[in-house]
């Protein structure tokens, strides 16, 4: 007997929550308990009084499971609102990465040139290394990291995706 996989689509969710202790564990635990997948999860307070947080979750699921994920999230007591930005339509997704690269000679020059192409900023430099700061969609960052791998990549730190809808109104 073999276990079957079903077709999944990537969705980005914005979840507005009361900033109470355990809220992140509640949400992350809901995903594991019900077998949903998390590709990325970011969280930060978004109001002056620090009472509300915005959690951005990138997940992939089939359409019926996606509907379940949203209604299961909405059911949690501290959740104000869940928005499926992918279903909503046009939205901007950004991620920030810090990429450390070590090398000398041609490798060092090539790394710097590619950084310019990718609009990565140098935020730390020694004679033998750089730390680049690069922002963009996840694919752009994947690609940049991939290129740096050949040029002496040491380590990468990524924030995970944050996202917001385009246009004048909140989604």
């Amino acid at each position: 007997m073999h276990i079957k996989e079903e077709f999944k689509e990537r969705h980005t969710l914005a979840v507005i929550v009361d900033n109470e202790p355990g809220i992140l564990a509640r949400i992350a635990g809901l995903f594991t308990a019900r077998g949903y997948n998390i590709e990325s999860l970011t969280v930060s307070e978004i109001t002056d009084d620090n009472l509300i947080s915005r959690i951005t979750i990138v997940t992939s699921a089939s359409a019926p499971v996606m509907e379940q994920i949203i209604s299961q999230l909405e059911r949690l007591v501290p959740v104000h609102k869940v928005t499926d930005l992918t279903a909503f339509g046009p939205h901007v997704e950004r991620e920030l990465a810090l990429v450390k690269v070590k090398g000398t000679g041609d490798h060092r020059i090539e790394a710097l040139r590619l950084a310019e192409v990718y609009r990565a900023r140098v935020v730390d430099a020694t004679t033998a290394s750089f730390v680049f700061e690069v922002t963009g969609g996840s694919e752009k960052i994947d690609k940049f990291v991939e290129l740096m791998r050949e040029l002496g990549l040491v380590e990468v730190a990524r924030t995970g995706v944050v996202a917001i809808s385009r246009g004048a109104d909140a989604a």
Binding site: M1, P21, G22, R26, G29, P64, S71, P78
Partner: protein, 581 residues
């Protein structure tokens, strides 16, 4: 206003919320609360013998009275022992508030004596939970906890209170009506959807009402309205395990329970229906069987208070998010307002009559051995005029009780449906008896399940609760044995109940009356002797050992692939079937 200790604030809040009974067990981290309980006489504390039993007793109390059940246990093992009952209440949507003691705030996280991460452990088996670190927050948290436990889809709420917070002082003020920032369950249905559902009902040729525990949770008025709507439309009614009693079994429109051990007529009616109105039921796997063969020709209306129940297992055509009682009232009103005549369902009814003729619940009776189904039927015959409250444990006896005991009213049937918790029935009976002192309360049990909370015999004795335990003793974990017979060529791995106690003597040791029923000739007299005794009675009814519970839809099979007799079943199933629960 003078300040009070956290423990006194808790008692004050519980009193203001109308709590009459608390089920609990003391321990180090709740000593201040127990001292506050000692000094008052408005709340009655029932001392159980194990914290799991406190939670099931609270469930039994809640399910039979409609009021929330309240539990009080200590930190660490007190809280972890309560976890099974908390999960049970979550699965069956039972309103319950569980107060747990916690080590003092300064010791949290240090692996202190009797410390457990109670909010962490219960986060995903409760509807919501709190760790209260400030006594000034305590009153609002307790009131909010009751609001969340009892509104929307009911469920268990855990409030963890560190010992220093129980001792520290603050002011108590009963909060006004709770307007929660985020938690706003929707109970009013969309009027246009109600009208659409009613028009679908009026146009349907083969309608079925599929009802569940939500009708019981909504209150007795919902059951009354269901009867009225069924009378207006003439549509037949089936129910889940949790919904039994919402519709009277004596009605000509009653199809019996549906699903894995449901009746032939209920499952065929679901399969052949052109319209299914699901009312407070959640399309559980025990109900649907094979999903892609479930009610293939029916349009489906789903009334549920929990949006996440909609489209979870089965896609529906018309979801209505509402309290099912309010939705039923509006459907009845809308049906009358639109002047729908009673539809002519004679063709549909005659097909149902055909299915009924299968007499699927018939069983081979015996002059000598007691068939378990016969024992349930005899118990029903002897008690039906007293409208008893029946609790059960989990297994064959539970399904036989669901099939052969007829219920006429809601809140009379208390069983662990979703989680399937053995050891539920005795503590639930204790809770039900406390909430209904004059009622006849019977736990229909199996000899294996009853041993999982057998220590509660003492609780009933202490509080002089005249509960009855009726054990169908077949010396097997019968449902496990049945599945082993049907899927593993009768390799009865560890399912024999060896080294059984003498239940009569065991009962007597706890101050109960014990009765043994050995053969068919003693059955009715034994039941009468049980009923005649005004204290608690344990009956050890020795039944046929290898009887199986039929009808049965094998896991993952369609409603139409029902097994009626043991000889229709092969001895070994393939891996796909073995992997299903």
């Amino acid at each position: 206003m003078a300040e009070k200790s956290g423990a006194d604030i808790l008692i004050e809040a519980l009193t203001d919320l109308g709590v009459e009974v608390v089920f609990g067990y003391p321990g180090g981290a709740v000593l201040p609360i127990y001292d506050a309980l000692f000094k008052q006489d408005r709340i009655r504390h029932i001392l159980v013998r194990h914290e799991q039993a406190a939670t099931h007793a609270a469930e039994g109390y809640a399910r039979s009275t409609g009021k929330p059940g309240v539990v009080l246990v200590t930190s660490g093992p007190g809280a972890t022992n309560a976890v099974t009952g908390i999960t049970d209440a979550l699965m069956d949507s039972i309103p319950m508030v569980v107060i747990t003691g916690q080590v003092p705030t300064g010791l949290i996280g240090t692996d202190a004596f009797q410390e457990a991460d109670t909010v962490g452990i219960t986060r995903h088996c409760s509807k919501h939970n709190y760790l209260v670190k400030d006594p000034a927050r305590l009153s609002s948290v307790i009131h909010e906890a009751f609001h969340i436990a009892t509104s929307g889809r009911p469920g268990p709420v855990v409030v963890d209170i560190p010992k220093d917070v129980q001792v520290a002082t603050a002011r108590y003020e009963a909060p006004g009506p709770i307007q929660h920032k985020t938690y706003r369950p929707q109970s009013q249905p969309d009027a246009a959807k109600i009208q659409e559902a009613v028009d679908m009902l009026a146009a349907a040729e083969r309608p079925v009402f599929y009802t569940g525990g939500g009708i019981i949770n909504s209150g007795p008025e919902a059951s009354r309205l269901l009867r009225e709507l069924a009378d207006l439309t003439g549509a037949p009614v089936t129910s889940t395990l949790m919904g039994l009693g919402a519709f009277p079994a004596s009605s000509e429109r009653w199809l019996g329970m549906l699903g894995m051990h449901g009746t032939y007529e209920a499952n065929w009616a679901m399969n052949q229906a052109d319209l299914i109105i699901a009312l407070g039921a959640r399309f559980d796997d025990r109900v649907t069987g094979k999903l892609d063969a479930f009610a293939p020709n029916a349009r489906k209306v789903h009334v549920d208070i929990d949006r996440s129940s909609v489209n979870k297992n089965v896609r529906v055509d018309l979801p209505i998010i509402a309290d099912v009682g309010i939705a039923l009232a509006e459907m009845v009103a809308s049906w009358k307002a639109r002047g729908h005549p009673k539809p002519d369902l004679s063709e549909w009814n005659s097909r149902i009559t055909g299915w009924r003729a299968t007499r699927c619940l018939d069983f081979p009776d015996s002059q000598d051995a007691i068939m378990p189904q016969r024992a349930i039927r005899a118990l029903w015959e002897a008690t039906k005029d007293r409208a008893p409250i029946i609790t059960t444990e989990v297994g064959q006896h539970q399904m036989w009780a669901a099939q052969h005991f007829d219920f006429e009213a809601p809140n009379k049937w208390l069983t662990s449906g979703g989680l399937g918790t053995m050891g539920y029935g005795l503590p639930a009976a204790i809770g039900a008896q406390l909430g209904n002192p004059d009622a006849l309360v019977i736990d229909i049990a199996g000899e294996a399940s009853i041993q999982m909370n057998i220590q509660e015999l003492a609780t009933a004795t202490q509080y002089r609760l005249p509960v009855k335990i009726f054990i169908l003793n077949n010396e097997y974990m019968g449902m496990v044995r049945q599945w082993q017979e049907l899927t593993y060529q009768s390799r009865y791995s560890e399912s024999y109940s060896d080294a059984l106690p003498d239940f009569v003597k065991l009962g007597e040791a706890y101050g109960w009356k014990g009765i043994r029923i050995d053969n068919r000739g003693e059955l009715e007299d034994g039941i009468q002797a049980m009923l005649a005794h005004d204290g608690p009675v344990i009956v050890d009814c020795r039944v046929a050992k290898l009887a199986n519970c039929f009808p049965m839809i094998p896991s993952g099979a369609a409603h139409t692939e029902m097994i009626l007799q043991a000889n229709e079943v092969s001895g070994e199933m393939d891996d796909e079937a073995k992997a299903l629960v």
